[in-house]
């Protein structure tokens, strides 16, 4: 196999496995707790509001928001790892169709794989830090994935037979 093709195939499947393990591990270790805490916090906020207990209401609502924020990002990391890596894997299969891959094409392969790691990593960092750096890493990763995927797909399309109607 050509080296860029190996990077796409092995890299893509490796990231899929990481995504599956991450999803399973999160589910087993903290997933149920996060959802339960989320529901209980909002439930406690409703109870406190109906009881006129402003202090408990504020605390419970803040806890619920925090869990909501975390849960959205945890699911985001899991799904994006697997979905983007599936596309990387498919591009690995299609890579031989690129007519005369240039150095630029090889660079796009690296950009795609690095972006596929950076994007969910940035989202994961958003869980542990509220720094804008985490958002910047996620945005940069996503941008790398979009541009590299488009560039590689354009090159693959050039190698396809023309689609004259049957």
């Amino acid at each position: 196999m050509k080296s860029p093709q190996r990077i796409l195939l092995v890299g893509g499947l490796l990231i899929i496995v990481v995504g599956l393990v991450y999803g399973a591990a999160y589910n087993w270790l903290v997933g149920y707790d996060t959802l339960t805490t989320l529901r209980e916090s909002y439930g406690a906020a409703v109870w406190a509001a109906a009881s006129g207990d402003e202090a408990t209401f504020g605390q419970a609502l803040a806890r619920g928001k925090q869990m909501n924020y975390r849960y959205v990002r945890v699911v985001d990391v899991h799904t994006h790892l697997i979905k983007v890596a599936s596309l990387v894997l498919l591009l690995g299969l299609l890579y031989p169709l690129i007519p005369d891959p240039s150095k630029a094409v090889v660079r796009w392969v690296l950009v795609l794989v690095v972006g596929t790691v950076l994007f969910p990593l940035g989202v994961f960092l958003e869980i542990v830090t509220s720094s804008i750096l985490a958002q910047a890493v996620a945005a940069l990763g996503a941008l790398m994935v979009i541009t590299a995927f488009a560039a590689l797909f354009l090159n693959i399309s050039r190698g396809l037979p023309s689609e004259t109607r049957a």
Partner: protein, 354 residues
């Protein structure tokens, strides 16, 4: 090209590639059908009930009746948990179907015995069925379903890690893969599906990038602020204001969910079109029909995410068209499955040399 004339992917009767192709397509059809049923019969009805219950929560808070407010809220939570379980099963079944179809294409690269490849293929398909199936029924049958669902996840992991190990060990197969790809993508319908799928994926990605910005800067903070303002207003006894704010909150929540669904559906339908491009030579259908079903799938795939996106902005008219577009894609996929079954049967009858 005569249909059903290629050996590779459908090579052996109940071989690994065949298990993965049929298992993958069946999983995708099941997942899409579940999504359609959920969208048509559960989602719209459920949303109206959740709205009514939120208004009741606000009224009970203002009346200082914690038990009744908590009971209404618990009913909302129960509905959202059920919704989450269905959406979870829907997205996992489709994702496992994609994985199975992709693994089918990797089979010629794996340096394993046929029986090892068959075991990995069964592990992937059976694991996908178990994981998603038991997530779906877990709400009705209890904890043991969660355990079986986790077992399914382990089986999928075994299939994925085994395939990864094979890919790492694969050597000198570039020519095999290149030849296989050129053969697989020879029919005009393959090129059509591949190009359309790639375009749809790119559109879905660009839209997702844009919406991530809107979500983080606008929708997510607004969602939290509206909930706090609504409940605070109810606490202060302003039922009318509180109801108004809570209804804004309830309008925003499905808007977020549906916009995210439009993004993910565009990418999923695009990925599916790319995957379907590879199986075109194995469909025992006339080339004109392959071309027509490819178009039906593409039209459904492009329109579905568009109408899903418009649904909370335009109304039920758009939601109905989203369901119709999804049905078109499902119909085309089912037609391709029939073609694949016929192709495999023809190949078996001719002993793989037809």
């Amino acid at each position: 090209m005569m249909p059903g004339r290629q050996g590779g992917l459908f090579g052996r009767r109940m071989g690994s590639a065949r298990i993965l192709v049929f298992g993958g397509i069946l999983l995708i059809i099941l997942g899409m059908a579940l999504g359609e049923i959920y969208a048509i019969f559960i989602s719209h009805v459920g949303a109206a009930e959740v709205r009514q219950r939120w208004v009741a929560v606000v009224e009970h808070i203002a009346e200082r009746q914690p038990e009744r407010a908590a009971a209404e809220f618990a009913a909302i939570q129960q509905m959202l948990v059920r919704r989450g379980r269905i959406v979870n099963a829907h997205s996992h079944i489709v994702a496992f179907g994609f994985l199975a179809l992709t693994f089918a294409l990797l089979q010629p690269l794996l340096p394993f015995s046929e029986s090892s490849k068959d075991t990995l293929a069964w592990s992937t398909v059976a694991g996908g069925c178990l994981q998603a199936g038991f997530v779906f029924i877990s709400g009705w049958v209890g904890l043991w379903a969660n355990i079986l669902s986790d077992l399914g996840m382990v089986l999928v992991l075994v299939g994925a890690i085994g395939t990864l190990r094979g890919l790492v060990r694969a050597q000198g197969l570039r020519e095999t893969l290149e030849k296989q790809m050129r053969t697989l993508l020879q029919p005009p319908s393959s090129s059509l599906l591949l190009r359309a799928g790639g375009l749809l994926v790119i559109l879905g990605m660009v839209f997702g990038f844009y919406y991530a910005w809107v979500f983080v800067t606008e929708h997510e903070p607004a969602q939290f602020n509206l909930l706090e303002a609504g409940l605070s207003s109810a606490m202060a006894g302003n039922v009318e204001d509180a109801s108004d704010i809570i209804l804004q909150y309830r309008r925003l929540q499905p808007k977020i969910a549906i916009t995210v669904a439009a993004h993910s559906h565009a990418i999923e339908m695009g990925t599916m079109a790319i995957l379907l491009a590879f199986i075109q030579p194995f469909l025992y259908l006339d080339e004109r029909w392959r071309w027509r079903w490819a178009w039906v799938f593409i039209v459904g795939s492009f329109l579905m995410p568009l109408f899903v996106f418009l649904a909370p902005r335009v109304g039920l008219f758009s939601a109905a068209f989203a369901d119709l577009s999804g049905f078109l894609a499902l119909l085309a996929l089912s037609a391709m499955l029939v073609g694949a079954v016929r192709g495999a049967a023809v190949q078996d009858v001719s002993g793989g040399h037809a």
